[in-house]
Symmetry: C2
Subunit: 282 residues, 2 copies
């Protein structure tokens, strides 16, 4: 595995592969890698000639008071895992190389950016769209891989790719879960033992409500109440940010079920913000 | 000359040329072509294997009440001129192909977008940045050619290219002028005979002030007053929007001259908005 730190070298390296008609897979990450990330690498390896993984904790997608400074970093183990999973190129640029002095461009996807997590993390999705646009231009991937756990991010990236005519196939891969169902996330490391145990309320609630929707008993508005009632039974939830049924493309709350429905939850357990979702097909 | 109307076909065509290691030159235009545009084509032809010119009157860079509807259109003559000048590919997409339903992404270059023309045309440079980003992703040019007459546009595009890591060389070409010095512009067609004659006040003033700056007599603040005094002598000027000496990279007004200085004017003659500039090197 080759490590590249300089954006221009990353771009030239990808160009030389493309000139040889090789397909390129990109797995963009913020490091602190878990099985979820590695499942993306394996999928990318199955579908492309050259696999690039990026590790970059992107400052502009963290708001003031968020966890940019304490976001888990574990470069040594990350590199071992990526090498073992078959990554060819690790792109790991410095912040100053990504955002040099005078940087002043922002990519915004209106609507999608403001809904769900966007309402609680203003500016977050501008930071995501901007850095993903940059990574796509630097790595020039044939395909880029994202996890379904960050469903809103996949909707945002798909919209941006279409709108800006970026020449990338965006591939969304299934959420990878712990044995008890908790969606894998680098932020799970923040949870104390009792919080970790309480956190399974999210996936348990999603599963229960998914079954209720499929049984066809209750409409979205009543379903939202059921979701909230189930979640409020867990005393370690310090803040319920959203829970409901949403359009899978616009992320707007649904008044009636569609063929595909996004069932999504965001909440805090103690100080740790967790999200999860299921797509319910009817 | 091949005409392409479908974005995806444009992208595939460029990719096939790049795979053969050909260099691609792009001249983006809004049509109503004059010698200024053709000088860009000739420069592109000297420096690249395959020349693409685009004609697209970009609705999102026109504000409400601006001249989108009446912007001059002359496709037939444009095509003749481009073919004669040696263009290989004319990219001429429909508005709906460029901005399909649900389009919601915006590229913004803060600071640069708001200054000079941006103060009088809110949203204009967001529209320019967004469409140029799209064109670069579709045509994948090695080099793209812009005229110095729209100096702020060249600063904006250069900043965006750097910030988003777009893999394009931006080439700025000298302003082409009529025999009496008026900068060529598709909008000159709006001018009546007396207005056309009055419009030369812009280049005459720029030339006179440039000489004064080079003579080293007067600082930027007094120079601004001289500029305004000269321009106010022309009774057909209906609105003076800005006139002054600016930083060539940030476009901020200068308190002291630098090595390179942007001397720029925007004004209306009757209902027609005209701009022009000179770079004064000391």
């Amino acid at each position: 595995m080759e490590t590249i730190r300089t954006p221009r070298i990353m771009q030239e390296t990808s160009k030389s592969h493309l000139l040889k008609s090789r397909t390129l897979g990109l797995v963009p990450t913020m490091g602190a890698l878990h099985e979820g990330h590695l499942s993306l690498v394996r999928r990318a390896r199955d579908e492309n000639d050259i696999i690039t993984a990026s590790i970059f904790v992107n400052p502009i997608q963290f708001g003031p008071g968020e966890d940019f400074e304490r976001y888990p970093r574990d470069i040594e183990h990350d590199m071992e895992k990526l090498e073992k999973a078959g990554v060819h190129i690790l792109f790991m640029p410095d912040i100053k190389a990504v955002y040099p002095e005078g940087f002043s461009t922002n990519v915004k996807v209106s609507g999608i950016s403001e809904r769900l997590c966007g309402a609680f993390r203003p500016g977050h999705f501008d930071g995501v769209a901007t850095v993903v646009c940059k990574l796509f231009n630097l790595v020039k991937p044939t395909r880029a891989y994202f996890g379904q756990k960050d469903f809103q991010q996949t909707v945002l990236v798909n919209r941006m790719v279409k709108d800006l005519n970026l020449d990338v196939d965006v591939v969304t891969c299934p959420t990878v879960r712990e044995d008890d169902g908790l969606a894998m996330s680098s932020r799970n490391a923040y949870l104390g033992p009792e919080e970790r145990s309480a956190a399974t309320v999210i996936c348990r609630t999603l599963q229960a409500v998914s079954k209720m929707i499929k049984a066809g008993d209750v409409g979205p508005a009543d379903m939202k109440k059921s979701l909230e009632t189930m979640l409020k039974k867990e005393p370690l939830i310090s803040e319920l940010q959203y829970a409901g049924v949403y359009d899978t493309r616009t992320l707007e709350e649904l008044a009636e079920y569609k063929k595909e429905n996004l069932l999504a939850i965001a909440l805090k357990i103690g100080k740790t913000r967790l999200i999860d979702n299921l797509i319910v097909e009817l």
